[in-house]
Symmetry: D2
């Protein structure tokens, strides 16, 4: 997953981009990059690691100019290399351009093959490079027309920021899979994946870009258009469930309030009569756990403490430690749990291994019953639109019933929110404006090119958009 940020018309553009990216750090921790334009040329700095470590004062000073875009990228297994960092910058017939992309294309491999057949060369694994090639090959006159032409050949999820020497262009795909918001800071325009980035730099939140909207900002000001054919909406419901930062406003509603409402819904759908307390798997499970507590009347408490100091890798002793991986991140509060019947709320179950470790840890700490409640439906299908889920085989819910999962994770009971409940909680009762593919298998694009992941991810059921 990724986060993007752009700003035009501010003398300290790259400094604000860096702060904006820091606010979006939860969307990607592998690499970060900023490209700035001083009106004449683009300058870039990209590196592996966290925003706060990469962008020192001398680096920021080396990125002068009134416009900048930035990107944070998530660490996906295998593809963790600097050459995949973004924004991706190239020279082409129109000069210089740079792009920051959040999302994932489903016909990238097909387009890539066709471009290669036509002589294109590729230097990264990123699907974003396909977009760049399509723009460079467009015969349209203006940059924005080239972008429109290129994107009309592309299918999938994209919130994009383009920067040229003179112009910033922002586009959100017609389904609106990934968020993108517009803000205003004095005389400058700001674009960001989430409103939390606007809040940090004290920019005013103007509105979310519409699905399929393109915004162009240059010396003539801001122009907007919607150059793509209309489509149904497919806003990513998993952003609300897990991915976005709770203080953001996403697709028109508060992430925090949505999660709390999911907790309330969960309490209604999956009650645990006689439980002593509700705890969360921190930090992502906290809002739903509070909602659960409110709706059920069962007291909320803190049964698991999250460490602030989790590093990349730890050396396990040969005489190994039970629940090692989880224990380095979470500690159980024995005195809270001892002798209690506990409802533990998490946002989702992926492989089941972590949930299993957590349940066992809670019991080892004295809980007499552990009832696992999940504030979303079973995750059964991989995401092709940018969320970094594993292949279908690895998703425990794709091949196990709820009861089997409960047994595997050793919980006394297990309950999920229903798909209907989820729709209600996000205010989409008919479930026609969100993409729920990871839960429902209903993919909104009729075209797939999941590339090397192909072999691992089985063909999903396709539905027409």
């Amino acid at each position: 997953m990724c986060g993007i940020f752009g700003i035009v018309g501010h003398p300290e553009a790259s400094n604000l981009a860096y702060l904006g990216l820091h606010a979006l750090q939860h969307r990607g921790q592998e690499s970060a990059g900023i490209v700035a334009s001083d009106g004449e040329r683009l300058r870039a700095h990209l590196a592996m690691g966290h925003v706060a470590d990469i962008f020192t004062a001398p680096v920021i000073e080396s990125l002068p100019g009134g416009a900048a875009i930035g990107h944070v990228r998530y660490s996906t297994a295998g593809g963790s290399r600097l050459k995949n960092a973004q924004p991706l910058s190239v020279e082409y017939v129109g000069g210089q351009m740079s792009v920051a992309h959040n999302g994932n294309l489903v016909n990238a491999e097909e387009l890539r093959k066709s471009l290669e057949a036509d002589g294109a060369i590729f230097q990264s694994d990123a699907d974003t490079e396909v977009i760049i090639h399509l723009i460079a090959r467009s015969k349209k006159a203006t940059f924005e027309d080239k972008v429109v032409e290129a994107l009309s050949r592309v299918k999938g999820a994209y919130s994009l920021l383009f920067l040229t020497e003179k112009k910033l262009v922002a586009v959100r795909d017609p389904f609106g899979f990934r968020p993108l918001v517009l803000g205003r800071l004095k005389n400058s325009w700001v674009l960001a994946s989430e409103t939390t980035a606007l809040d940090l730099i004290e920019a005013e939140f103007i509105r979310e870009l519409e699905a399929g909207e393109m915004v162009v900002i240059d010396e003539d000001g801001l122009r907007t258009s919607n150059p793509f054919p209309p489509s149904r909406l497919g806003r990513c419901i998993f952003e609300h469930v897990y991915f976005a930062k709770p203080d953001s406003v996403l697709f028109g509603t508060s992430v925090y309030e949505t999660r709390k409402e999911l907790g309330r819904q969960l309490a209604r759908e999956q009650p645990v009569p006689g439980a002593d307390l509700v705890i969360a798997v921190p930090d992502s499970g906290v809002p739903a756990a509070i909602g659960y507590s409110q709706a059920s009347g069962i007291p909320y408490d803190v049964g698991l403490i999250r460490s602030h100091y989790v590093g990349r890798t730890f050396i396990e002793p040969q005489q190994s430690i039970r629940h090692f991986g989880v224990k380095l991140k979470l500690s159980a509060v024995r005195q809270v749990l001892k002798g209690k019947r506990v409802v533990v709320v998490d946002d989702s179950i992926v492989r089941g291994t972590t949930s299993r470790k957590i349940v066992k840890m809670l019991k080892a700490a004295g809980a007499v019953e552990v009832h696992l409640r999940i504030s979303s439906p079973p995750t059964q299908w991989p995401c092709y639109y940018g969320i970094d889920t594993p292949s279908r085989q690895e998703l425990i819910a794709s091949s196990h019933t709820v009861e089997e999962i409960a047994r595997y994770v050793t919980a006394d009971s297990l309950g999920y929110v229903s798909l209907e409940g989820l729709g209600n909680a996000v205010g989409d009762r008919e479930r026609t404006t969100f993409c729920t593919a990871c839960f429902s298998g209903k993919y909104l694009t009729g075209n797939f090119a999941p590339g090397s992941a192909d072999e691992e991810k089985p063909t999903p059921r396709l539905v027409s958009a």
Copy 2:
């Protein structure tokens, strides 16, 4: 502040020391070190930074042997240098010795002058080096007798772990200022500042060392003694209020439960009739906020989100951002706060500047009233026993009334737990077994040598122990 860890009798001693230090990382993030003994010689590795970054597999392999001690050190202003990292290792007439120290001596400067007058040289700023010199000069026959002789000249707070080629010695000062617990992992003995370190490595918690107790572990097994004159107890109450990790059991009671009880006590002493919700300043204020909510019936909610990605320094734009420092760490959840009368619970107020930023942030996010509640009494006096508090002048409560502080931090009301309430919450109604100097000014040692801090920290009222 610091954390210490020791283990004897385990083939992977240094690996377990590294995991134990990781669990104690909250007690010090500046530097970390491990010294291991293979029975013949000591080997050390010390570095600036976090445990998870310092101890890679090759480093652990370079520290063989069945015994190890380790140390994490807090970053105190100015003294942040590798030569102050611990464990401190030397050669002396008896061979090699290494020491890890949690606490602070009050007569170090005086002893240092006397040792220097006698020809000693000092290579670090640490008061711990004084102890080393006293041991090296002792004419006693055994190592433990040398340690006792040395410590009998020393005043202040110390939980100490000594490692020689053949022996581990653990000592807690007669006041018992700093915690130190004993655990058992199969055939090995474990010592640690807090029980959370035992939990991580799956060691069984045996008991806390008594104040003034010395434990010696060598090939003959474990021996214990209490070689110092009896003294009243002075266990650090601030460990319970803020410092220790909530899942630890400290001085006989659960840190988490103590903090929740402080929240309940706070609700009783400092109610906010008509408030809409209780929120915490995360993470340290969470348990007390939950306690406050439980006792008051006002719903608990999450109004501030803590970022996981806070780095050391950030570059502020010239056109500066309101509440910049706090905002990088905390985000306000607008939808929770909007139009609400909010009780916000924190553990303490030091200078007042952070509280002021937080209150203003909450109001900017829509809170109509902000009532600040502190789960400890006003912090008026500097700590000379190891907690890294600023000088008296900088402590806002040393020169301002509660009302003045409320006005400064722009809160609609401000309330602290009383000293009595604090005593009750920790189960020390008479307040005779805890050190409360930071709140009461009643210092338990009649001798001060606060060194360079001297000029900044005004002479406190002294009370006889």
Copy 3:
């Protein structure tokens, strides 16, 4: 300038590539890279810095396979960035390919514009990327036919190594500007810029590739062809004068012997009657100084000592030091120079500033006369074929007579080898097989696209090839 190395058919290909690049380190110190093929895919490691620092054992292990190519790159002002490091690797319709290039194209800018007009995007500044694009767009069936088609559109200097999953292709341009030699190590074939790399790894020197020759090595063995139209030769004479390592055999003759012969020729053309001793500017001036001494009978001695520890940058004190830059690299031996009439031999004069500092240093150390002798003709013209010379304006000899230069560098006399003498020394009396453009202005290519350097480098006289 750059050095290249390739090997096929050896189980430790990347390790030998690393040693070969170390032997070629004098040809480029900015960045280094190796790409290896295990028959299925290419793996690359590129970094800024020296070969010995970049290629650790784990890095070498991450580059498995029986074939590898490598590259060292010189630090040219401004363009010092990792993205310009080589080998340059891409995916295209035919799979993966990687290329290492020594030389410089003169029509790169023109081709780049044409490729861009056709939709190509460029990620580096290197002219090598043009070649990659031309190959990717070729419709020929085999990789080697694509290479030939691509190179037939390219003008300038190139010794190239291509690596695909299954094949290594080596090509030398029809002028033969840059060297490229073929060697044999047991069952493997080796290609290198200079014979010194063969010597280090104990490969047998088979022969130099012919100008315009293409060698293809794959599972069917080695095939050679000469697919380009015949051309006059244009072997770079500056390789002999300065660039190559003295122990190499270059264009059929020993570099060391050639330089010594240049020194003898210099003695004949530019004698210094009555001089007391001949010294060299180390290390490049040593062979010619010895030759001068032999031919003139004036004793050779060491008047300047070269430091082994020269770093990238030094901090000059405000109260500045005379000849600072040169002094950090060279020390004068006072006792050798004192009171003497000294002949000092260097290989060339570029801007004149270093020569001036050296002459002044020698006089400050006691030399009563300093006669500067240069073992090549005046460097008057910039090189467009890969040697990193400054623009014409900066070349002192382009606008100053020998007498004026002598006055500027404060030498008592100054003498260069004549163009005729240079031709004789390299065994090309008619000067029809070497490129002497830097001395004569006779460029062998009728087409220039020196790109951004264009503005700085004045139009040279062109001669037909």
Copy 4:
């Protein structure tokens, strides 16, 4: 081995110290450090590595003040650790002091044991720490009297620079083993191991300190005294043979000229009639090779090229390469050597393994005869005074005749300069002013405590001083 540098009275003291250390880098490449005084306190920076890498502009700025001392340290096996880096700085009863030491004490172990018995603790392995302890324990009134008292208990080799807040003290031991020179730069005094450091910073060479001389520089100016009992001289002859930089003036004569004279003496004592050419093992053998050529009339030439890019470690392929270690550093010039009878001149033979590789390399490159000539007598005895020689067993000449060594290194003949010839060349015909222990076994100190090296280094014959 080590190099030291000091300066008093210059506003950019630490910057000049850094340049001075760079000029002395050949005396030690393991670690470097500078300590500066601003009159109030000392500030230090020490690190592993080369001077040019360690001292960046911000580091130099962090070392303000008008006085500074610096140190470069040689990498001795095993003891390569930052805690052994110098200058060594401590606090003691008199305030702060820092010391930089070139040389080696022979009674350090004995003094260390006695100090430890008296309660001293040691943090490094360095004998220098003994001196610090002795000073700190002295009851004398002034710093210089403390220094004299301390040094009167110490035996061995020392050129020392002490820095306190207000004073620089320089001392050379009564034998004068290690060099130390005094210079003047405008209003500041400079001290350095060798004159080459004065030359670099343009300081005037005043004179060498006398053996046993102490120089004190403070606000009252420079005072000199000779506080130790008179002794015979024992200036290290190996400094002239190999260690010092050739452009330095050492013990009153030019290093370069001494080495050339050694070459001439070698030609007289060990002629090679009928040889075709004389070559050197670069760089240290060059002056003697030129001297040999001059005295013998056999032409000097360059048969071995030294690489400028030798790193710390190289990865040898499994199918190993002949003469691997030497080949990475030296390349043979085949065309110079082919078919020739070659005299190769080196300064010394230690273990014989390198010489053997060089001889074999020369023959592999075509030399028909290789006659090895050494510009010093056989190295038979370890040095206890600061030169990093191996133990006696490892010195090939301690157990092999010249003929046996010739056979081992596969040379056609081998010849050394005689001890008499060496004495003549350095102008000490009676050999009463130099230490020749490494060649003669005549150690000048009657007391040894070579510590852990003890077991490896056999007891030498002792002679009275």
